[in-house]
């Protein structure tokens, strides 16, 4: 099923000083809440569906700047925002599903149902060496781990049914013990009994985001993501990919939102935008190239292009990769989004409360609902 509202989805990555290799800034800002608050609040002003905070598990080689744990930043900003989705990058390669699924469920809890999770893989040697490995795991193993990790996380989210906490003072029941479930997962990489120790997330399942070609150059849609971000550079390729992924999802009755990644470089005139792009490119080191689609021009020009792609079936929306932060997020809110709104292609107010509502994704039922339970009857008064 595709996204039918007539409005595109818009999201953005936030990390470092932006995604152009030449982007720079004051390194102290990257460990300050104020910096991220400014970005997320600008994104919320722009009515974006969600922001994705990138993360990693080692100091980046070359451009060596510090960062903060993405979960800590987004949880810190949840009470200071109302509507915007908060997507956390939390890798699967050297982690425990029991911890990670609970952490992102709690981000959903503190944000009132606005959490998403990008379960990436950890491919670098530097990261491997921080987790007891000399070499990164082979790509096939990383992908297999990620796939099982997400599947088992969904089981753990489902291990408490929605209405397990009943607080029935009259009957003396805090939980309905029939609504907790052992998941008894036995897979190739994980064996987990469950249940999880926290409640089902407000959204049922946290929104799962997959980025095609993530680090590794090969898409792995088998993870059954809710949102898939692609990096096509031509309209034809994007339409083909979109049709293929949606057909695949439809064949298993899965609702999928497909976004195309794009780096807008905005200027007051097309010439000014081009000059800005050229200046950035000139500053970037040789070999550092921007991946995926880049749109250079006035806000009106970029909005026309996005609408053209959206209305010709190339995507359900776009995932913005800001060239330079924090400046670009202010331009999205002040310049680009108003152009999209004028074209009737983007919301002017948030209609829903949860991220699933923004994305028009169904709220999944627990896979264990109605399954036999393991309640103590011997002790019932």
């Amino acid at each position: 099923m595709t996204h039918h509202s007539g409005h595109m989805i818009l999201s953005a990555s936030i990390a470092g000083f932006g995604f152009h290799p030449a982007a720079t800034g004051d390194a102290r800002h990257l460990v300050q809440v104020d910096y991220y608050r400014r970005l997320v609040q600008a994104a919320e002003r722009a009515r974006l569906d969600f922001v994705l905070l990138d993360d990693a598990r080692a100091l980046p080689e070359g451009r060596c700047h510090g960062r903060l744990d993405a979960l800590a930043v987004l949880s810190r900003l949840a009470p200071e925002t109302r509507s915007i989705g908060l997507a956390v990058s939390k890798p699967t390669t050297y982690s425990e599903p029991f911890h990670v699924s609970r952490e992102v469920a709690t981000l959903d809890f503190v944000s009132g149902g606005r959490a998403a999770w990008h379960p990436g893989t950890t491919a670098s040697a530097a990261e491997a060496r921080n987790f007891g490995h000399d070499q990164p795991l082979p790509a096939a193993v990383r992908h297999a781990i990620a796939e099982e990790f997400v599947a088992v996380s969904r089981k753990l989210w489902d291990s408490w049914e929605d209405d397990a906490v009943i607080v029935d003072r009259r009957r003396g029941l805090y939980i309905d013990p029939h609504k907790l479930h052992h998941i008894d997962h036995v897979g190739r990489h994980f064996r987990i009994r469950g249940p999880q120790i926290t409640y089902r997330p407000p959204q049922g399942h946290v929104v799962v985001i997959q980025i095609a070609g993530d680090h590794d150059g090969e898409p792995h849609t088998a993870i059954a993501a809710d949102v898939l971000i692609l990096h096509d550079t031509t309209l034809e390729a994007a339409r083909d990919a979109y049709a293929r992924h949606q057909a695949q999802a439809a064949s298993v009755h899965h609702t999928l939102r497909v976004l195309q990644a794009v780096m807008p470089v905005i200027g007051a005139t097309d010439a000014a935008a081009q000059a800005r792009a050229d200046a950035l490119d000139a500053r970037a080191a040789d070999g550092d190239r921007v991946r995926g689609l880049r749109l250079v021009g006035t806000p009106a020009h970029i909005a026309d292009e996005l609408v053209r792609w959206f209305r010709s079936g190339a995507a359900d929306g776009f995932h913005l990769l800001p060239a330079e932060l924090p400046a670009d997020m202010d331009e999205y809110a002040g310049l680009l989004v108003p152009e999209l709104q004028r074209r009737g292609a983007f919301r002017t107010e948030y209609a829903g409360r949860t991220l699933r509502e923004h994305l028009q994704l169904p709220r999944p039922a627990s896979q264990f609902a109605g399954a036999p339970s393991e309640a103590h009857t011997a002790y019932h008064g």
Binding site: A27, L68, D69, L74, V110, G172, A375, H376
Partner: protein, 449 residues
Amino acid sequence: MTRHIHIGVFFQGVGHTIAWRHPDHAPHDAFETYVRFAQTAERGLLDFIFFGEGLVVREHQGKFFGPIVNGRPDTIALLPALAAVTERIGLAATISSTYNQPYELARQLASIDHVSAGRAAWNVVTSFSNSAARDSGGDQVAYNFSKEKHLEHATRYDRAREFVALIRQLWDSWEEDALDGGRVNAAKIHAVDHAAAWFAVHGPLDVPRPPQGHPVIIQAGQSDDGRDLAARIADVIFSPFRDLEESRAHYADIQARLLRYGRPSDAVRVLPGLAVVTAPTEREAHDKAEAYRRLMLTDVVRRYLLGEQSGADFADVDLDGLLPDIDPSQPGVNGPLLTRWQELSRERGLSVRQIADTILSRPPVVGTPAQIADHFEHWVDTGASDGFLLTPTVFPNDLDDFVDLVVPELQARGRFRSAYDGTTLRDHLRVARPAGRWARSSASVAAGT
């Protein structure tokens, strides 16, 4: 000089019998409850709020039980959100060193310290193997982490010692001034190159040094290994003692161990757990305590908790009789615990119900605000503690009462702060900020030597 009194408060969730049945008790599954808890504690100028950890849903013989509280949010993900709704209060998380990786936890705790401007604390636990684990023939906690068995006690502490030493190295891997001028000075960021029995971590951390240098370290272990670890690494020690003499002996023991590890005698704050029930008059306070006592346990819950703790089946045991003969050597049963109960039953002629009430409910300290303040002063002034970790029974009532009645009394006596005089948790606790292993070399560089 009178000694400062330090007060933390524990969010009683899982494991807190059935106080949730009180009509005023706030829901555990609403974020607003946690916000109110943090803001109330901050209104009372307490040192910190504290959350426990359990890595399994409580169950017995593989089955779930309705009447007790189960489920809690993840503390690592909760504390940053609570940092957003408070300004000064410390934020303490209990995290297992047995089921985590040092690099991941180092960056999580460092990040919480950054986003809270220096208010993070870590209660280091090794995760206990509970009776429910034994009665299912393996270990329930381990079953949630793709493992067959929990680590043995001594092994867990061995891992914990290496874990803590390594995590401190990771926090120190950035020098204080590595970001001066807004540019990263790569010469001031150092790999840790750790490779030992449990962990191999190259480093450096990708998060700059936390505002507190190191987040505050808390330890609560009572075994010899636990006390030893505490004396080596802790800034705060939680203790379970209710008896003044026991608590003094514990305090003295910790002082002796601190000396052994070359730490100053005032390097740690020892805080026993304490439930306080207070009201303007003694009569009201005792009435309230009696109402709580009746509310806390029912026969159904007594049977369940006796079974959960011992691994034996109490479903059909006569609660008014003496403890029946249960073979302490049968599989799944906690033999030593059951033997202690049997001795208690025989020696004191206690019924099963009385045994349950003795072991399951820890009586609170009950009295007027002045009486409670007397208790605090007496313990702190006679070398039994540096304050207390409050364990409120009914939330929000008991924390409100403490903040509104007891805190002003302690302030009037000049024994408790009337405003936060610092910004970090280390400031509140008056424990030193670790200098970091590169501090000396930086100083030499600065001095041009």
